[in-house]
C-alpha cells in the first residue's frame, strides 16, 4: 500500500497512539489502518523506536549524587528552608543577611553624602547651633549686652524691658524703624503669655537663623498691623534688631545694618512702588531702609564662603579685639585699622540677617503673605538661592549679592498671585526676573513679557 494523503495526516494520530492518547474509536480505526498499510506500520515502528530511545535516554540520565545536597545547602543559605514564612519575612532577619546589611550601609552612606552636599547650609547651621549652645563669652554682643545675664535664668519681662531700653538708647543710629519705637522692640520680643524665653518655643513662622538661634519669621500682614497698634503677636522683621534683641536672640551684632541711608530707596520706592497699599508701603519702606543700609555698606564684601558659612563668621567674630570693640560705633569701626576684618564680619552678619530676615520681611510686605516654612537656602555658583514658600505659591529667589534680589522664579502654586508679587518686587528693587516657566519670560532687565499660556 502506497502512502496517501490520508497516511500523512495520520502521523499525529500514530504519535498519539504511542502515548495512549487515542479514544477507543480512534484506536480501532488506526489499528485497522495499520493492518493494511505497511508504510504507516513502518512509520509507526520508527516513531515507537524513537520514543522508546528517548525514554531510555531519560532513564539513563544520572543526577550528580552531590547535587541534591548542594541544592539544599543553597536553599539554606538563601534562607528559603529551615524557617517559617513568618520568620522568613522578618525584617530583622532580612537585614541580618550580609548582602542586605552591606547594601543598607552603602545606601545610608551615599544618602548622607548627597544630603550634605546638597544642603551644606543646613549642615553648617547645625554645627553653628552646637557652637552657639555653649556660653557665648567671646561674642561681641555679650560684651555689650552683658555677659552677666548670659547664664542667667529666665528674665522677668520688666528686666528684659529695662535692658532693652538701655541698649536702644545706647545705640545712636538704630535704624529707621528701631529708632522710632524702642518700646515696641521690647514688646516684640515679649511672649504674649509672659514666658521668660518667649521665642524659643515659638512654632509657626519660626526659623532657625544662620547663627543658630531660633527666630520668628513674620507671621502675616496682620502682625504688622498688630504691632502698629501696640499689640504684640510676633517679632517684626521689619524692625532692626536692637542691642537687647541681639543679646537675647542673636549672639552676634549686626552693626553694619545700622545707620544706612534709606532715602535713596525711599525715592526709588516713590517712583516705582505704585500700587502698594499704605500698610504694605510702610512696611516696604522699612525693609528698604534696612536693605539700603546693607547696600551702602562700604567695601569688604564677604566672600561667598563667608556668606554661606556662618561658622566661619562666628569664629571670626570671636576674636578678642572684636569682643572688646563697642558694637554700636560705626565711625570707630570704619576708622580703626583693626576694624577692617570686623567690617567683613559685620557684613557676614548682615548677610545672615538679610537673608533670613530682610528678604522674608520684604516678601511679606509686598505680598501680604507669610512664609509657611523656613526658607531652604542653598548656594549655586556663588549666588544664594532660596525656595520661598508662601501661601499658595512657591518661588525661587536668587540673590546677586547680599540683600539684592537678582531674580525670582515662579515654581508652583497660585500663578497670578506670584506674578503680582514678582511685579511688585520688580518695581521696588533692581531687576527682578521672572522665570520662563508657565509663559513668563524675561525680555530684559526690568522688563517682563507675558508670553501666552493664557496670561
Amino acid at each position: 500500500m502506497t502512502p496517501t494523503l490520508d497516511c500523512e495526516s495520520r502521523l499525529e494520530r500514530l504519535s498519539r497512539r504511542l502515548d495512549g492518547d487515542l479514544s477507543e474509536v480512534e484506536e480501532r480505526e488506526t489499528a485497522a489502518h495499520l493492518e493494511g498499510c505497511s508504510t504507516c506500520l513502518g512509520t509507526y515502528e520508527t516513531l515507537e523506536a524513537v520514543s522508546r530511545g528517548g525514554r531510555q535516554i531519560g532513564r539513563e540520565t544520572r543526577v550528580p549524587s552531590a547535587l541534591p545536597a548542594r541544592i539544599l545547602e543553597r536553599l539554606r543559605q538563601e534562607g528559603l528552608i529551615g524557617r517559617s514564612p513568618r520568620q522568613r519575612s522578618s525584617f530583622l532577619l532580612l537585614i541580618a543577611q550580609p548582602v542586605w546589611a552591606t547594601a543598607a550601609v552603602v545606601v545610608l552612606a551615599v544618602g548622607t553624602v548627597l544630603y550634605l552636599t546638597n544642603h551644606p547650609k543646613e549642615f553648617e547651621m547645625r554645627l553653628d547651633r552646637e557652637v552657639s549652645s555653649k556660653p557665648p563669652a567671646a561674642s561681641p554682643v555679650d560684651a555689650v549686652a552683658g555677659a552677666k545675664e548670659a547664664d542667667a535664668a529666665p528674665r522677668s519681662p520688666a528686666r528684659e524691658s529695662e535692658a532693652g531700653t538701655k541698649a536702644s538708647s545706647a545705640r545712636p543710629g538704630s535704624g529707621a524703624l528701631g529708632a522710632d519705637s524702642p518700646q515696641k522692640s521690647n514688646d516684640d520680643r515679649r511672649a504674649p503669655s509672659g514666658s521668660a524665653v518667649p521665642d524659643l518655643m515659638a512654632s509657626k513662622g519660626d526659623e532657625v537663623s544662620a547663627n543658630g538661634v531660633r527666630q520668628r519669621l513674620p507671621l502675616s500682614k496682620s502682625s504688622v498691623e498688630n504691632q502698629e497698634e501696640g499689640r504684640v503677636v510676633g517679632r517684626n522683621f521689619s524692625s532692626v534688631p536692637t542691642a537687647d534683641s541681639d543679646s537675647e536672640f542673636r549672639p552676634k551684632p549686626s552693626a553694619s545694618i545700622v545707620g544706612g541711608p534709606a532715602e535713596q530707596k525711599d525715592q526709588k520706592l516713590a517712583s516705582g512702588g505704585a500700587g502698594l497699599s499704605e500698610k504694605n508701603e510702610g512696611a516696604v519702606r522699612a525693609e528698604l531702609s534696612a536693605v539700603g543700609s546693607l547696600a551702602t555698606e562700604p567695601a569688604a564684601a564677604p566672600s561667598p564662603a563667608e556668606v554661606r558659612s556662618p561658622v566661619v563668621a562666628e569664629k571670626k567674630s570671636a576674636a578678642p579685639e572684636s569682643a572688646a570693640q563697642p558694637r554700636n560705633a560705626p565711625a570707630a569701626v570704619a576708622s580703626s585699622p583693626p576694624a577692617a576684618p570686623r567690617a567683613k564680619e559685620s557684613r557676614t552678619d548682615a548677610a545672615d540677617q538679610s537673608i533670613s530676615e530682610v528678604v522674608p520681611a520684604r516678601w511679606e510686605a509686598v505680598s501680604g503673605t507669610t512664609w509657611d516654612e523656613p526658607p531652604h537656602w542653598t548656594s549655586e555658583a556663588e549666588k544664594t538661592i532660596s525656595r520661598v514658600r508662601g501661601r499658595g505659591m512657591v518661588l525661587k529667589v536668587r540673590f546677586s549679592e547680599v540683600g539684592k534680589i537678582d531674580s525670582v522664579d515662579f515654581i508652583s502654586g497660585d500663578f497670578e498671585r506670584s506674578r503680582q508679587v514678582i511685579q511688585m518686587l520688580k518695581s521696588l528693587d533692581r531687576a527682578v526676573v521672572p522665570a520662563h516657566r508657565r509663559g513668563i519670560r524675561v525680555a530684559g532687565v526690568g522688563k517682563v513679557e507675558m508670553m501666552s499660556a493664557g496670561l
Binding site: 495512549g20 523506536a49 524513537v50 531519560g58 550528580p64
Partner: protein, 220 residues
Amino acid sequence: MDQVATAKSASDIPYEPSLEASKEKVCVARCLAGDETAAEELVSAHTSLVYGIGLRLSGRVEDAEDLTQEVFLKVFRALGDFRGDCSLRSWIASIAVNASRNRIGGIVRFRKLFVSVEPPLEDPDHDPLEQFPDSDEAGPEEKFLAAERRQLLGKEIAALPREFREAVVLRDQQGLAYEDIALATGVPVGTVRSRLARGRAILAKKLTGALGRTSKVGAL
C-alpha cells in the same frame, strides 16, 4: 491485534514516580511551615526532573547543575503561590523550562549542544554497561550498539528546533502528560500533540537516513 497490543504496551510509559496530589499539598504545606524534611523530600523527588530538563535543553552538565539550583531557588521562593491547580511536578517543570529558555542565549548554542547521555564525570560509581537496556536476548555487543544509536538519537534531539525539542524531551524523556507539557511550555494541548508528532517524525527520518534500515532504528 498484536500491533494493537504492542501499541498499548508502548504507551505504558514507566514515568518517574512523583508525589501524589494529596501528598504534594501536604508536602508544600510542610515546606511553607518551615519543615526542612519536607523540603528535602520535595528536592529529592524532583531533582531528576529538573536536572533532566536542564541537561537536555541546555546541553551541558555544568549548565544543568546551575540551572537545577536556580530552579529550586525559584520554586521555594514561589512556593507560597502554588495553588494546586496543577500537579507540583508540572509546575516545577514549567519553571525549569522557563529558566532554561532564559539561560540559553541563542539558537547557535543549541546546535552544538547535547553533550551526550554520558553520566557526569564526578560520578565514580558509574558503569557504562549499566546504561544498556536489560534484555534477555541482547548480548553485550548488541547493548553497546544500542547505546551508540541512542547517543545518535540524543544528538538529533538536541539539534531539533526548540519547540519540538521541548515537546520531545518533556514527553519522552521526562514522561510528562500532554496537559503538563502544555502548561510548562505555555501552548495549547493540541499544539503539544502536533509538535510532538513532528518532532518524532523528524527524528525518525534522520535516524532512518543515518542507520539505513528501520530495523536498526527499531533496535534503539
